[in-house]
């Protein structure tokens, strides 16, 4: 799969990405650091972006970070030195991972599956490359179950999807339908930002 349109969208977003998303990253940082602390062994970091999350990873891991955008990969490459461990950054679509089955111990995703078209397909691929005892750890924003907020997210998504993520996805539902067992679900802000841990089954 070579989704050039999607890659171009994120190539464009890579310009000024840190400036626009810096505050959001700073707000999510403590949650991500706490979740990522559970990572061990061989790790797949999905959606490297500009590499902001590298500094949040526990040291000493064997990490492969992927992103669909060449420009993001270039920017992330500049931050590889921030990590005390073995870290590679590669351009790859999560819906078509170039790894053998059961290759990773842990997969990490932070605000990624709000942006992946066909998220179920991406989650199936992640499940394939995870070891049977492996785990997927995510920080994601999802559609609220509170009607007034959900309506607002639906409206905002019509705008946000042009340049970035969709704000109204049922990522936990998609995860369960994609063959995972939910280990933990924690609301970080209302019921729209969640930390999720799941195991392939």
């Amino acid at each position: 799969m070579n989704d050039k349109k999607l890659a171009r969208k994120w190539d464009r977003s890579s310009v000024g990405y840190d400036l626009v998303n810096g505050a959001e990253q700073a707000r999510l940082e403590p949650f991500k650091r706490s979740l990522f602390a559970q990572a061990k062994g061989r790790v797949l970091l999905i959606g490297a972006g500009t590499g902001h999350d590298f500094a949040l990873l526990p040291p000493g891991l064997d990490v492969i970070a992927i992103d669909i955008s060449e420009k993001m990969v270039e920017r992330a490459g500049l931050r590889v030195k921030d990590y005390c461990g073995n870290l590679q950054v590669r351009r790859m679509d999560v819906r078509e991972l170039e790894f053998s089955d059961a290759y990773f111990d842990v997969a990490l995703a932070s605000c990624v599956f709000c942006s992946v078209p066909e998220p179920a397909r991406g989650l199936h691929e992640v499940r394939r490359v995870l070891k049977p005892q492996g785990q997927l750890l995510m920080v994601e924003h999802v559609r609220s179950r509170i009607g007034a907020i959900a309506l607002m997210q639906d409206l905002m998504t019509t705008l946000s999807s042009f340049f970035g993520p969709q704000m109204n996805r049922d990522t936990v539902g998609t995860l369960l339908r994609s063959g995972y067992r939910l280990d933990r679900e924690e609301n970080l802000y209302l019921d729209i930002i969640k930390a999720i841990a799941a195991t392939p089954q």
Binding site: L19, V20, N21, G22, A23, E24, A26, R27, P30, Q38, A39, K40, D105, V106, Q133, Q135, L137, H141, A148, I149, L151, M152, L155, M156, L159, M167, R181, L182, D183, R184, E185, E186, N187, L188, Y189, L190, D191, I192, I193, K194, A197, T199
Partner: protein
Amino acid sequence: MTPDTKHALFALGDGLASMLVGVATAMAVHAAITPGWDMALAMVAGMVIGTVVHVVIGVLLMPLIGALEAMVPAGITGMYGGMFFAMRNTMVDHNMSHGMACLIGAAFGAIVYVGVALYNRMTRGVMYEHPRGTRA
């Protein structure tokens, strides 16, 4: 800067953003919607005005306070505040001063922010944990 200080500053920013959206929405609706409007149309127009105001202010403030946590109170203030302000304008004499409209907008934004913050306290936390716990 300590994490607590950072958190407090972001929370302050969220509150001020909600109040700013409230003021801007109240002023825009005050200028656009008059007692001659049909109430249903006025409410829809007010909602659209408030949403546009929220999006513009949200985009401008995103580099400072982020998007998601700021979006909820500011979005509710814009969308639902715009609707309420428009409804009020169709029902009462249109002789409210701009200052009073601004004050009501700011108060609405502050109330929404506090309400969302309190609701967040209730909804935060672990929703589900598998009996065997996490494996990693």
